[in-house]
């Protein structure tokens, strides 16, 4: 893990300011219970945004709204510059779900899982080309699973499995990577690999990252902005600004949600 917890990424090459994900005054509720109230959020290319908040604060709902899985009844949502339902180049959005629905008895290798990440590049009905296979191999290497590429997923540890799902998102060479609690309960080695591969994606590929997590210690030194959600956005700024308000990401690795409770 990086030694300097608050140091930012060095100058990035070719940073453009394309807005990848955009929400403005979005409200959402299940029945009469409001979950999101007038939430606004922007993720630009080359930006690492962490979305945090106590349990039940609407983080997952906001992700679903941004990705178009839930319709936003009020407010405006754009994904890659369009309404989420109208996005044609959806493969530019990489997604790591909170708890993948996989993991049955059926054996499927890391490679088979990750290869799914290339399906949308040229059309799902076409076979994978040599360059697709190269991208799959590269993605598997980048999460440190190179030696395990041919192993069935259900023989790997939780952390390794989660890395495989991250590699699946990487394989598509995404412009925007959305991760929902990807490192919950993951070992230190996997967390370090995870951080390194996100840094690689942002620096080398100019991608934007939106990460929902309770455990930000592993990535605290590379986050550009922290957005704290509690039905509404109660904070949106740099980790340094958050620290000035008494919440330091690097320190409160275990009880970050509790500390966030105090933030008004």
């Amino acid at each position: 893990m990086g030694a300097e917890p608050t140091q930012h990424l060095p100058e990035r090459e070719a940073r453009n300011d394309e807005i990848l994900a955009y929400a403005r005054d979005v409200s959402f509720g299940y029945g009469h219970d409001p979950v999101l109230r007038d939430v606004s959020l922007t993720v630009r290319a080359g930006e690492f945004v962490a979305l945090v908040g106590p349990n039940g604060s609407g983080k997952s709902t906001l992700l679903k709204v941004l990705l178009g899985a839930l319709p936003a009844p009020s407010g405006r949502v754009e994904l890659l510059g369009r309404a989420p339902g109208d996005v044609r180049d959806r493969w530019r959005v990489g997604y790591v779900p909170q708890r993948p629905s996989l993991l049955s008895e059926m054996p499927a290798t890391v490679e088979e899982i990750v290869a799914a990440g290339r399906l949308r590049q040229r059309g799902w009905w076409r076979g994978l080309t040599a360059s697709d296979h190269a991208a799959v191999g590269h993605a598997i290497e980048s999460v440190g699973l190179g030696e395990l590429a041919g192993r069935p997923l259900n023989e790997l540890s939780i952390g390794q499995q989660q890395r495989a799902f991250i590699a699946r998102a990487f394989a598509g060479d995404p412009a925007l990577l959305v991760l929902d609690e990807p490192i919950a309960g993951v070992d230190a080695e996997s967390q370090r690999r995870f951080r390194d591969s996100l840094v690689h994606l942002i620096r080398q590929h100019g991608a934007g990252v939106l990460l929902v997590s309770h455990e930000l210690a592993a990535v605290a030194d590379v986050i550009d902005r922290v957005v704290v959600l509690k039905e509404r956005v109660v904070f949106d700024g740099s980790p340094a600004e958050l620290a000035a308000r008494g919440v330091s990401l690097g320190v409160h690795r275990e009880d970050l949600p509790l500390w966030l409770e105090d933030l008004r």
Binding site: A69, W124, G150
Partner: protein
């Protein structure tokens, strides 16, 4: 049409050879679809669709249409119906399936009894009769099999993504609904093609049992698929070969071989020395 090839007993006659070809086709094509159903945790959907196909058989007998056509229509519509219900409201999938099961079998029996002798007319469909398969039947099964192979070549990879992780596939922009409905329609096609051969009550077993055995020993999805096809074909060959000398119903005999193989593989895996299991790690 075509004379019998010089095969040894019990495959010496033309009808026995047609039965062999038909059963091998079922053994190969049923697990190809079944692997995706098992991965999707819908092992029982085949049975549900088969029950709906039975309603189609009854309807065909009643109105005087070749029951295979009416069964195909019922099964395809039923399969797509179940899938749409499941896609819309996930929780209802199990109940929707049960409903199709019962209504299907009851409708089939009501129609067939109105048409005439229930037992005589429906038994060949319920338990299958590979020796009654004509060359037309063999060609039909072959054509359907080629359709399955072509569909898998085109959509197999995307289908694998959908059945392993539906939520992710939706976000990735894969046509989850269309692929799921296509899988349901193919399932219906295989069931109707196989119902005259191994029977409505047993065809779904050939979609699931070979896959269940294969996944115990394979270490990849592709490997599971290939092994399941080999096991399906092997079960068909052995089951049909022992059926005649032992005087068994051929369809039941094939399914029994597939089930026995599963039991043997599961037992061997449990009792195999740990060192052997860990060897590949």
């Amino acid at each position: 049409m075509i004379g019998a090839l010089p095969f040894p007993y019990p495959f010496e006659s033309g009808e026995a050879q047609r039965a062999l070809v038909a059963c091998l086709a079922v053994g190969v094509f049923a697990p190809m679809i079944g692997a995706f159903l098992v991965q999707k945790r819908l092992s029982l959907v085949g049975d549900g669709i088969a029950h709906v196909a039975f309603a189609g058989v009854g309807a065909g007998l009643l109105v005087g249409v070749w029951p295979v056509w009416s069964a195909l229509a019922f099964a395809v519509i039923g399969a797509i119906g179940v899938e749409l219900l499941r896609l819309k409201r996930k929780a209802a999938g199990d109940l929707a399936l049960a409903l199709f099961f019962y209504v299907g079998i009851a409708m089939g029996a009501v129609f067939a009894s109105r048409a005439g002798d229930l037992e005589l007319e429906t038994l060949p469909y319920l338990f299958g009769d590979p020796y009654a398969v004509t060359w037309t039947g063999v060609v039909t099964v072959g054509a359907l099999g080629l359709t399955v192979v072509a569909a898998m070549r085109i959509a197999g990879r995307a289908l694998f993504a959908v059945v392993t992780d539906e939520d992710w596939s939706r976000v990735a922009g894969l046509p989850v609904g269309a692929l799921s409905v296509a899988l349901a329609a193919l399932t219906a096609g295989v069931i109707v093609a196989g119902m005259r051969i191994v029977g409505i009550l047993l065809i779904a077993a050939m979609m699931v049992l070979p896959v269940a055995s294969a996944q115990l020993v394979s270490r990849s999805f592709r490997g599971t698929l290939r092994l399941a096809i080999a096991i399906g074909a092997g079960s068909s060959l052995v089951g049909l070969a022992i059926a005649r000398p032992l005087g068994l119903a051929p369809g039941a005999s094939i399914v029994f071989v597939a089930a026995a193989l599963f039991a043997a593989v599961a037992l061997a895996k449990r009792t195999a020395p740990r060192a052997l299991q860990q060897e590949a790690h």
